[in-house]
Symmetry: C2
Subunit: 218 residues, 2 copies
């Protein structure tokens, strides 16, 4: 049976592209979650139209989290804490893949190390040990994800303290057209999250839109 993936806060920049790719892969049931069910339904309908098939559905974040085996959080840093606090009980026993980047506007090209060590560790601290938190997908540009079915020239570095949960994130990276690489424990997420700020700066200086990273030599 296919696993169900819920993209919580899935109506923003990153969420729809990931959801589209996972649905298209045929390997997952995919739900778009949002604070407002209507918004989630609208984005799911738009993606279904792109796909020409009714593969995705839209639900509130709560209903999406409840229905899913694996939850993926794609919200701005300022919304991460409140969203996870609200979903804490519903997420127990599940895998949470945290895509949060702790950017500090307006200087979004400056690396900001959050008080909890990394956004992923802050998620783990909110959720407690009953949730297996993995940090991943921060470095892939929304523009690339939206391209739909092409392979993306960007690796997905996956940090976490649970091997099985990391393997799920690596499988999701592959289903989305990227190479997933185990990048060590959850605390290493500080580097992967911060790399997004570095890539934003590189985009600005090179007038590019989708700078990414690849691991060489393996």
């Amino acid at each position: 049976m296919k696993k169900t993936v819920a993209v919580l806060g899935g109506t923003g920049n990153e969420g729809p592209g990931l959801a589209l790719r996972w649905a298209k892969s045929g390997r997952y049931e995919v739900i778009i979650g949002s604070r407002q069910a209507e918004k989630a339904e609208r984005v799911a309908a738009e993606l279904n139209q792109k796909l020409g098939q009714n593969l995705l559905r839209g639900l509130t974040n709560e209903a999406a989290a409840q229905a899913a085996d694996i939850c993926v959080l794609t919200v701005p840093y300022s919304a991460q804490g409140p969203t996870l606090t609200g979903l804490r009980e519903l997420l127990q026993g599940k895998i949470l893949i945290d895509v949060t980047v702790p950017l500090q506007p307006p200087k979004v090209s400056h690396v900001h190390v959050p008080p909890g060590g990394s956004a992923g560790q802050e998620a783990q601290a909110i959720l407690g040990e009953g949730v297996r938190v993995v940090s991943a997908f921060q470095n892939v540009g929304a523009a690339h994800l939206a391209e739909g079915d092409s392979h993306i020239d960007c690796d997905v570095l996956v940090c976490g303290d649970d091997k099985e949960a990391k393997a799920e994130a690596i499988a999701l990276a592959e289903a989305a057209g990227m190479r997933g690489i185990d990048a060590g424990p959850l605390r290493n997420g500080v580097v992967v999250e911060g790399l997004t700020a570095v890539l934003i700066g590189i985009n600005i200086r090179h007038k590019a839109k989708g700078a990414g990273i690849k691991i060489t030599g393996i």
Copy 2:
């Protein structure tokens, strides 16, 4: 006139490979620095033998720093503070390229964020504003550097608060057979330094020796 580059602590893993490549490029006068002059002279002689030309010389760190326009520090994290404190006066007015990675043995594949924000910022704090500190060259494996004259499939991410100093580091990366990329302010060095711990872990898991990174999409 060629600029003079001193590789301070240049007898370890990273130093000789960088020094060899810079000397071979013909663009720089290169000095190997060490706490002991004899050790520096021996490594310089070994590199000259490899090159078949007398291009490098070995000096104490103090004499090397004094003679150089640009100093490159390649010492373990535990030696960074004491070395820079001792060279503080000699480095005033110069560029210091800090290659220090704040690894915390024995778990060298775990990212460690140092108290000063990054090793580069700690160097700047010790040296004061009279020294232009740039953070670079942390992600390239010693094995690749030792290969001599081949191009290396690894980018050099360069962090610093002074544009001219960053341009010198980017030129040095190119002279050593790599692409140098401006990665933002000195504080962003926390990501580039930490990436080395991530790459060490990837090397271990993939039974590889020289994992590196490339920026894509620019």
